[in-house]
């Protein structure tokens, strides 16, 4: 089975600072990590590989600094890593990004694609499903359990108040939640291999131009226009009341009235 995991390197914070003038992220001085949902995606792929014959390729589209995120994935046990990087891809929104990734995925070949649900720096949750759309394959989003068999894959799909069990044939794309699993650590030998014996391969636009039209990549291929960006104001601290059920109902009703909800 050929599994491709799409990952994104993100700043290690939920409080991403924005440049108010340009609406872009200020990344300087913030340590970078693999996006948590994507890390769960890597682990999900490696667990399939633990129990059956599978080849796990990890890909990311990003600047050259994203190399370390791919090395980390290799050090966890992924077989191959590709950095999709080119000035031509710069300024891509989710649509141009997913189109470019779909081109790379077509180039590499696949049975199963795993992405994270969403990245903590953008929170769109669009890239995974859009890749499936570009490729014309089914998508199962919000996976909290995955069970891969030879011909089919069964996924528990999370909702706020329920779940679905969905079975699909390959090829299929799954978006993973960070709750899906506890990702393994890198191993010492894995890190040594990631730098000494394995390599992070590069894909530039020239490698993909027969698969993705130039007008569909980078800033030009991005229909999204950012009107305004702002940092979410933090919620106030919650109140904790340790009281009986009846008292708690009274407190809730009082609070709802205070806020003119009732």
């Amino acid at each position: 089975m050929k599994i491709i995991v799409c990952i994104k390197q993100v700043p290690n914070t939920n409080e991403v600072k924005l440049n108010q003038e340009t609406g872009t992220l200020i990344r300087d001085g913030v340590p970078s990590i693999i996006n948590p949902d994507d890390l769960a995606g890597i682990e999900a792929a490696l667990r399939i590989k633990d129990t059956r014959d599978a080849h796990v390729t990890v890909i990311t589209m990003g600047p050259p600094q994203a190399d370390v995120a791919l090395r980390e994935a290799l050090a966890m046990g992924c077989d191959d890593a590709y950095l999709i990087s080119d000035r031509a891809f710069a300024g891509a929104d989710t649509w141009a990004t997913s189109g470019t990734l779909a081109g790379a995925i077509n180039l590499l070949g696949y049975d199963l694609i795993i992405t994270g649900r969403q990245a903590i720096d953008g929170d769109t949750a669009q890239v995974g499903p859009q890749i499936a759309e570009h490729l014309g394959i089914p998508v199962i989003s919000y996976a909290e359990e995955i069970n891969a068999e030879d011909k089919t894959i069964t996924v528990k799909r999370q909702y706020e108040d329920r779940y679905q069990i969905i079975q699909a044939q390959y090829p299929v794309l799954i978006t993973a939640l960070s709750e899906l699993n506890q990702p393994r650590y890198m191993s010492v030998g894995g890190i040594v291999d990631a730098y000494d014996t394995k390599e992070v391969k590069s894909l530039a636009y020239v490698d993909l131009e027969h698969l993705v039209a130039r007008e569909n990549i980078g800033l030009k291929g991005s229909p999204t226009r950012v009107k305004k960006s702002f940092t979410k104001s933090p919620k106030g601290k919650g109140e904790l009341h340790q009281v009986s059920d009846d008292e708690s109902v009274e407190i809730i009703i009082r609070k709802l009235k205070e806020h003119h909800i009732l």
Binding site: V68, R71, E72, A75, Y185, M186, S187, V188, G189, G190, I191, V192, A194, Y195, D196
Partner: protein
């Protein structure tokens, strides 16, 4: 000259820090309090390759270098000195001498199990009457057919009860003094071998320090490590390497103490100010961090020369001397900055101060390190 770490070493540091924070730190206080060997942690260390860091791939190791190994002991010791010394004794005192002196058969049989962490290793040189005066060995090894028969007692052996295999130094010819010492690889279940009482220690209380007792212990001749009569030299070379591990342990304890103290002084308020705002606090911490950085440079330098296969014994001795004394000094001063709270077992600094002291004693006391350094300087 380049003082920056490679990207590989930076990623290794990321792993060590995460592993230490998630797997080791939560157990550190309990391991100290209960004096229980952390078997579960050791399994995890094995799973992620931390018990075979400098061992070649063909023997199941991670094929990393001694710098990578020293960094691992440092990061583990920042949060739990017991875990640091378990890795150090296993790697430097048992795995390394087999890797460096073993026959192909010995490496096949033992190195693979040690590097993968299936087996834990220990080292027996010290005896009731032979501490710093290691040449005063009383344990004997007498040939008998295809075996040697070992008799004697080893003392203060790290990992003793938890280990599966031991490097044991014994006299094969008492008349020759240190040139009559020979090293053997002894398995725990060899006939006549037993582990004695566990010491009640001041610090590193989870590390299972016990006696090893050999009463007509039968060791196959094939388990002689190195040549007959070369055991003392082998032990001294093993300790040269071990001192990098202990220097790293001491360095980790010291840095760990500073790290938690920095957090503490930023929160603790006295006289209407956070105590980090007092210049005494700032000067103390600045002074300590400078010392610890110097200890780190000495430790990494010793690892670097070992990796380059250049003479490093004096570098390792300097690193161990300086880092261990820094650990004792820094933990004491950090406890002082904690005030009364620091003296309670609620705060880790109390444990760190107790853990630090041993680094000035084992694998050669500070005085032994000075003897090594002075001899290298040809001062006599």
């Amino acid at each position: 000259m380049d003082f920056s770490l490679s990207k590989k070493h930076e990623l290794l540091r990321d792993l060590y820090v995460k592993f230490a924070k998630d797997e080791v730190q939560p157990l550190a206080a309990e391991v100290d309090e209960t004096e229980q060997f952390p078997y579960g942690t050791v399994e995890k260390l094995a799973r992620y390759g931390l018990l075979g860091i400098p061992v070649p791939r063909e023997y199941g190791g991670a094929a990393a270098d001694n710098l990578a190994y020293a960094m691992a002991v440092e990061e583990l010791s920042k949060v739990c000195a017991t875990t640091g010394v378990i890795v150090s004794a296993h790697t430097s005192l048992c795995t390394a001498p087999i890797m460096e002196n073993g026959t192909p058969e010995q490496k096949e049989k033992y190195l693979t199990k040690l590097a993968t962490g299936e087996w834990l290793g220990a080292f027996g040189l010290t005896e009731p009457g032979a501490g710093t005066d290691a040449a005063g060995q009383q344990t004997t090894a007498v040939p008998n057919g295809d075996n040697y028969i070992l008799n004697g007692t080893k003392l203060f052996i790290t990992n003793a009860d938890a280990a599966h295999v031991y490097i044991i130094i014994a006299m094969t010819d008492k008349s020759k003094g240190t040139r009559g010492c020979t090293a053997f690889i002894v398995e725990k279940d060899f006939p006549g071998f037993s582990v004695g009482k566990q010491e009640k220690k001041m610090g590193i209380r989870g590390s299972a320090t016990c006696e090893l007792i050999m009463r007509d212990c039968v060791v196959p001749k094939a388990n002689m490590l190195g040549k007959e009569g070369q055991g003392f030299k082998l032990a001294m070379q093993t300790l040269d390497g071990g001192r990098i591990g202990i220097a790293a342990q001491a360095l980790g304890i010291a840095q760990g103490a500073i790290d938690i103290t920095v957090n503490y002084v930023k929160e603790r308020v006295q006289f209407g100010k956070r105590i980090s705002q007092f210049q005494n606090t700032q000067f103390e911490l600045a002074d300590m961090q400078t010392t610890v950085d110097a200890a780190r440079l000495l430790t990494y330098r010793a690892a670097y020369f070992k990796d380059k296969k250049q003479p490093y014994a004096n570098h390792a001795a300097m690193a161990k001397l300086f880092a261990s004394e820094a650990a004792s000094d820094v933990t004491r001063r950090c406890l002082q900055l904690h005030g009364g709270y620091g003296y309670t077992r609620e705060y880790a600094i109390e444990r760190m101060m107790r853990d630090a002291k041993i680094t000035e004693i084992y694998e050669g006391t500070s005085e032994v390190q000075k003897m090594v350094i002075a001899a290298h300087m040809k001062v006599n």
